[in-house]
Symmetry: C2
């Protein structure tokens, strides 16, 4: 019985996701679904990409189970944000994304959906996005593509964040990449955004997204 | 409709959890439900606690959505393990725990249930455990108790792991503690298990668990 209900929920979600996809296309918006574990550095990543793409309008739909800490941070930077509190729900779905997107009412730009910090559940819910960006942080460990297969398979592009911690935590990039390549062709961008140090990898990731935006 | 089904599922789970609780008590077993984000250091924590409690029999029920990487690591150390692959499910429930516990068939000892790496969903599922141990790692960030309220409220004890990275990531312990104290009285153990460095905090956490075991 549980399976049937879940299937109905997912089918309803997929219909709404297709409507969102049309909505974003009509408004010439690239929607990026940004997923990752708690503390993978998702908000910091959006903030840094916004710095790199100052000629493109950036909006954010923030998903959290509680608080508006992330949306507040981005608003302070001048990024137009909408906060969704899921009240305990472990993922965003197509329905709430449409509400968030209509609230920020963007045309001609990139909307990031910062999903709830969770390396499992969001991979089941198409939001109507064009790009699925996964933030995987170095301190989470190099074995994650082997253990969280659905999410790593689902991503179109992987941002390997906090690369400045590689040595401190003994991260094996070859092992990580091998695990990802067994299930996915998604490009990997190695990112370091440590305060007071030179930013690494963010220009390349921003250029990837700019190209996707130009194709909308 | 979704709510009703979910309620039924949770009620069925709670009944099974109570049966598990009796089962563990009859066998003089302390069951510890260990939860935390992907990469919070859960397996490393179990391994280090086993080192400290060599006079107590330790068993582990490992939950992962794929792979047996963690159970293999612990078996190599001589910790009796049972691996549950949830095939995509985002949490363990009381039913699968009973199966895992019967497989390792422990009497007089501590059984750790290493839950699926997820800071949200496992907090909804009582497994019949006596102690809810949350591993929260320093690189996840000091704002997590504010954002993942249900999980931090649910924990009986918090292991703040990877404390050797505090300076590298700019972790504010006071801010973290304030967030936790707003919702919970759970003690916090600050742990560092970095290879080649002195272990910190693990003796104290092991002593806490030893006391709980003696009370079973």
């Amino acid at each position: 019985m549980k399976v049937i209900i879940m299937k109905e929920l997912l089918e309803a979600n997929d219909r709404l996701a297709e409507e969102n996809r049309s909505y974003f296309k009509e408004n010439h918006v690239l929607c990026v679904n940004l997923m990752g574990s708690p503390g993978a550095g998702k908000t910091t990543l959006i903030s840094a990409i916004a710095d790199e793409l100052q000629d493109i309008q950036i909006g954010v739909v923030e998903g959290d189970i509680a608080s508006s800490i992330d949306a507040d941070k981005l608003e302070q930077k001048g990024v137009h944000s909408s906060q969704i509190n899921t009240c305990g729900e472990c993922h965003l779905d197509a329905n709430v994304i449409r509400q968030g997107a209509e609230e920020i009412a963007m045309k001609n730009g990139i909307v990031f959906v910062e999903n709830v910090g969770n390396l499992i559940c969001p991979a089941e819910f198409d939001l109507g996005e064009t790009v699925r960006l996964l933030a995987a942080s170095v301190p989470e460990g190099d074995d994650k593509p082997y253990k969280y297969v659905p999410m790593f398979s689902y991503a179109d592009v992987v941002a390997l964040t906090k690369c400045d911690l590689k040595e401190a935590v003994g991260f094996d990039t070859t092992y990580f990449t091998k695990g990802l390549r067994a299930i996915s062709e998604a490009p990997i961008y190695e990112i370091s955004l440590k305060k007071g140090q030179q930013r690494e990898g963010i220009k390349e990731l921003a250029a990837f997204l700019r190209k996707k935006y130009e194709e909308v």
